[in-house]
Amino acid sequence: MFSALAYQLSSKFLEEQKCAPVKRRTMSKKPAAQPTLHKVIMVGSGGVGKSALTLQFMYDEFVEDYEPTKADSYRKKVVLDGEEVQIDILDTAGQEDYAAIRDNYFRSGEGFLCVFSITEPESFDATQEFREQILRVKNDENIPFLLVGNKSDLADKRRVPLDSCRERAQHWQVPYVETSAKTRDNVDKVFFDLMREIRSRKSDDSRATNGDVKGKKRRKIKCAIL
């Protein structure tokens, strides 16, 4: 790890020193050239509407037909409180088949939208597991996290009481938001709220001088900023 960093530094140094024209393109993470990137990960049981939320947010479209997701990646520029940032959304698979590869995805996430369907108590129960897995992988109690109760348009089929949702959110000390991917109700809100959390979390981290616990990640981020 260390040598990788060292190499990155040295190569940059060489570049500047020699000022030699390099035929390859600049690196994708060109410092300062790109707006801040917030990596959001959608988690939750299969069929709760993670992809629907994502697509609604990304392209203002509601997809009726259901096609299980494996792992989708979206990224676009948005304006967050007047600042242009990039949001990178990793839409993961809810199905248990892919449970084994979730760890890898979660590792790169900076914020999590934990989605369940208010018409399906099993999906609400499953949020507990997702939460635990995320905390285990990230090793961080305060990771940006939103509990999202989707399908609020189907209030007549509601089977998860609002109280228990709020109770759980309170217990986890995370915000609870009810959305509808169909009506686009609260869709933007959950993404922007999460990005704000991520942003404030990042600024906290950068302010902190010592942070050995998450050294690797912070260093990486620092490098990116550099």
Partner: protein, 882 residues
């Protein structure tokens, strides 16, 4: 020009080549035509791209590896950019992994199961830094390298070689000092290489100069050439080439056409070879039919039907039609063969099966069954006709030779026997064939419609019809009334047994077939009837022989039994009956398998037996009677009343019939009586025992009737005898007495009985001797009767004489003496009745008064006894006492 396309979403974000990818973004083209380029990870995927909307394209990833942008190019917006990346990876496909691609699983085990070390395909230059490479244990993750150098490569020989990649890959753990040393090493190496080039030029100056000279020479030659041939050498070259093309064409056209022909021929040949089976089939069918390999034909036919049944090819159809025709012929042939009798069952079954497998329309098995039955019927009729004809022929021949003495044996001829054998054999054999066939048919083994009940009933009718025909023929053959002539017993018995055996064999074989009981019972009835017939014949024969006994009587005394002397008649009777019984017993009584016993109680045959036995016995009685009484008229005409004693001598040769019986009628009478008695007492018992021994039902009724008849006969005989014997004897008394009485002098001293007394005694002795010689113990009866008659006569005479005048003492003495003497003489034979008569006679005589007279009478009686001792003894003894 619109805005360039921007890809902002990818679903999924990674996958193996061929993954269906949904690409989302903005300005992805205004229409499908607008989309002119799509690259995923550098692989062109336009071919699989499906333009959905300006925000969405669906495509399949190409054979890319690693992470890469998705670049959409549109006519309207040009080349676009991507904010997301797709990562392609190669999946190793193992046996348990679903795959759209065919994986040769039998391939050597180098492919599956992940990455295995393979022999390096590219040359890797030795370590350029002169540092030993690190082990594999702390490899730098390739993914991060890919991320850090998206367009780079760690290979020294690649264009996009990235020293950083190389160092991280190989020397990530090498210390800075070592790296510096490596740098120095590398620089030195480069220096030495540069140095090497310069020295190379220096060392080869001569060669280089030489090359330059050559180049100049070449240039000069070229310029000279150009001058010589002009600036344009091409047209002439073109002409030459065209000419050569024409020439080549003309040269090769022939060869090419030949080749075409050859190809066509080859094709036709291969077609022929491929469908050799079909083309050769007609011939092979013919051949196989000739060889009788019908199974092969059927198999071939089925195969060809399966292969070419629905063919549209004209040629094939033609051949198929030919084959079909042959098969039709074959079917016809098989059908005819199947129907043509005689044929054994296996073969017939084979034909049936063949017909079935050739889809012969119709019920082959049923036809076979029917034809078999027809054959059986006609066979029976043929057998019948044949033997009838033969018989007629024979009898004609015989008739020519000796018309009178026709040896027409009726049911016992040898021809009939042969007929029975033939018919029984035919029935058994044909039913043996027919029944299993039918059974298999109804078991459904031979197709057709075995389930129909009509068929079952038909079959039953057929079998019954056949069996009935058989039984009818047999009845006609065997049970017809026999000829008039008596057949020798042995022949009869042999024929009977043989015929019965044939019938039983047939019956047995039918039994073995498990035929229904109805036809069986028909055959059984024939056998039974034949047995009864046989029995009847035997009995009739016995009857006839017994009737003929009269002619056999020789009057020769065979034996002196307890019941008097007998001739051989009773023995003959016994013998005849025994013969008949033993023949019956041997031939017909024993029942075969599943035959009803012949002589069941109250059965008809038992009644027949009874009737015949009785008839035989009564016939015997009649014979005896005839023998005893028939000739009397003549006899009596001849007989002299007064010479009864001499008759035996005189009658020699006077018998009316028979070659040898010189016996007098008295003798015959007595013999007949003795025979009757013997038969009654002894022979009948023997016969009863014989009947019992043969296990026949008891013939009590017949025996009883016979006994009675015999008793009657005996008494008739006795009466007749007495009548003819006693009457003359008695008749002589009176004249003799009168003769003496005239001479009687009242005063004369009576010193002896008058001669009539002696005459009576002599006559009695004669009778006694005659009777005793024949009848033995039974003789006393006759003698008694005569004595009785004599006494009665005396009493009558005494009564006649007394009422006239009182008798003189001398006459009275005389009479008393005479009666006393007679009484003495006949003492043995006097019955109570006779005694009474004598007493009555004596009572009429005055008793003797004086002692002197009494004495005198005693003296006379003693004298008489002395004189007549021999006579008296002969009169009073029997055969036994002699």
């Amino acid at each position: 020009m619109g805005p360039p396309p921007v890809v902002t979403g990818i679903s999924p974000k990674e996958g193996p080549p061929g993954t269906r990818v949904t690409i989302r973004g903005e300005f992805l083209g205004t229409s499908a035509i607008d989309l002119i380029g799509l690259k995923i990870c550098g692989c062109d995927c336009l071919l699989s791209a499906e333009w959905k909307s300006k925000n969405k394209i669906v495509a399949r990833s190409g054979p890319c590896k690693g992470r890469g942008d998705i670049i959409v190019t549109t006519r309207s917006g040009g080349e676009g950019t991507s904010t997301v990346q797709f990562r392609g990876y190669h999946e190793s496909i193992g046996p348990v992994k679903e795959s759209a691609v065919w994986v040769e699983e039998a391939a050597p085990p180098s492919l599956p199961w992940g990455r295995r070390p393979m022999s390096p395909t590219t040359y890797t230059p030795p370590d350029p830094l002169g540092l030993s490479t690190e082990g594999d244990d702390c490899k730098f993750p390739e993914e991060e390298l890919n991320e850090m150098f998206p367009d780079g490569s760690g290979k020294l020989s690649d264009d996009n070689f990235q020293p950083g990649w190389y160092l991280l890959e190989h020397h990530s753990n090498t210390s800075y000092e070592d790296l510096k040393a490596g740098m120095v090493f590398l620089q030195r190496k480069v220096e030495s290489q540069k140095e090497g080039q310069l020295s190379f030029l220096k060392a080869n100056t001569g060669a280089v100069m030489d090359q330059l000279d050559r180049l100049v020479l070449l240039k000069n030659m070229y310029e000279e050439d150009e001058r010589k041939n002009g600036k344009e050498p091409l047209p002439s070259l073109q002409a030459a080439i065209e000419e050569s093309i024409t020439l080549a064409d003309s040269l090769f056209s022939e060869i090419l056409s030949r080749k075409d022909n050859a190809d066509k021929t080859r094709e036709a040949l291969s077609l022929l070879t491929r469908h050799k089976f079909l083309f050769q089939l007609p011939a092979s069918i013919d051949r196989n039919i000739r060889k009788k390999e019908y199974d092969l034909v059927v198999n071939d036919y089925t195969r060809v039907k399966n292969l070419f049944g629905n063919t549209d090819v004209k040629l094939f159809q033609k051949i198929l039609a030919e084959i079909d025709k042959k098969i039709e012929d074959l079917k016809e042939k098989l059908y005819t063969r199947m129907k043509t009798m005689p044929i054994n069952v296996q073969e017939q079954t084979k034909y049936i099966r063949l017909l079935i497998s050739l889809n012969w329309e119709g019920d082959a098995a049923w036809v076979a069954i029917t034809s078999r039955k027809e054959y059986l019927m006609s066979l029976m009729n043929k057998v019948k006709d044949h033997f009838k004809q033969k018989e007629e022929q024979e009898s004609n021949e015989k008739g020519k030779r000796k018309s009178k003495e026709s040896e027409w044996l009726g049911g016992w001829g040898a021809v009939r026997g042969a007929w029975v054998a033939a018919a029984a054999g035919a029935l058994a054999a044909q039913l043996h064939a027919l029944w299993p066939l039918a059974r298999r048919y109804f078991a459904g083994e031979l197709a057709g419609e075995p389930t129909s009940t009509q068929r079952q009933a038909d079959l039953k009718e057929m079998i019954i019809a056949a069996v009935e025909l058989f039984s009818e023929h047999m009845r006609a053959c065997l049970l017809s009334p026999g000829g008039g002539k008596l057949v020798p017993t042995d022949t009869l018995r042999v024929r009977l047994v043989a015929n019965l055996r044939h019938l039983r064999e047939a019956y047995d074989s039918l039994l073995k077939l498990d035929l229904p009981s109805q036809p069986l019972s028909i055959v059984e009835k024939v056998i039974f009837d034949y047995r009864v017939h046989g029995m009847t014949v035997f009995l009739q024969r016995a009857h006839k022989r017994v009737k003929g006994l009269a002619e056999k009587e020789t009057w020769k005394i065979e034996e002196y039994s307890d019941y008097g002397a007998i001739t051989n008649l009773p023995h003959l009777l016994e013998t005849y009956l025994n013969e008949a019984f033993s023949a019956i017993h041997k031939c017909v009584v024993t029942s075969g398998r599943r035959e009803s016993p012949l002589l069941a109680d109250h059965g008809e045959p038992a009644a027949i037996l009874q009737r015949h036995t009785q008839q035989i016995l009564l016939a015997y009685v009649t014979v005896l009677q005839d023998l005893a009484l028939n000739h009397e008229d003549q006899e009596f005409n001849n007989s002299n009343l007064s010479v009864a004693l001499e008759q035996r001598g005189e009658e020699v040769g006077g018998g009316p019939a028979g070659p040898a019986p010189p016996a007098s009628w008295q003798l015959r009478l007595l013999l007949a009586g003795a025979n009757a008695a013997y038969t009654r007492r002894h022979t009948l018992a023997a016969i009863a025992t014989a009947i019992h021994n043969f296990g026949f039902p008891k013939q009590n009724q017949a025996l009883q009737a016979t006994k009675e008849a015999l008793s009657t006969l005996e008494s008739t005989i006795a009466e007749t005898y007495l009548e003819h014997k006693g009457d003359p004897l008695v008749g002589t008394i009176e004249p003799s007495m009168d003769m003496g009485r005239h001479k009687t002098d009242a005063d004369a001293v009576v010193d002896d009985a008058r001669p009539y007394v002696y005459e009576i005694i002599n006559n009695l002795i004669a009778v006694h001797a005659e009777v005793d010689s024949v009848s033995g113990a039974a003789s006393s009866r006759y003698v008694r009767d005569i004595c009785e008659t004599v006494c009665e006569e005396l009493a009558r005479l005494a009564a006649l004489g007394s009422p006239g005048a009182p008798m003189s003492p001398a006459a009275a003495f005389q009479a008393r003496l005479e009666y006393t003497l007679l009484r003495l003489a006949c003492a043995e034979h006097l019955t109570r009745k006779a005694e009474n008569h004598l007493m009555e006679a004596l009572a009429g005589i005055p008793p003797i008064e004086s002692e002197e007279e009494k004495k005198r009478m005693d003296t006379i009686v003693q004298g008489f006894k002395k004189r007549m001792e021999l006579q008296l003894a002969s009169l009073n003894c029997n055969m036994e006492t002699v």
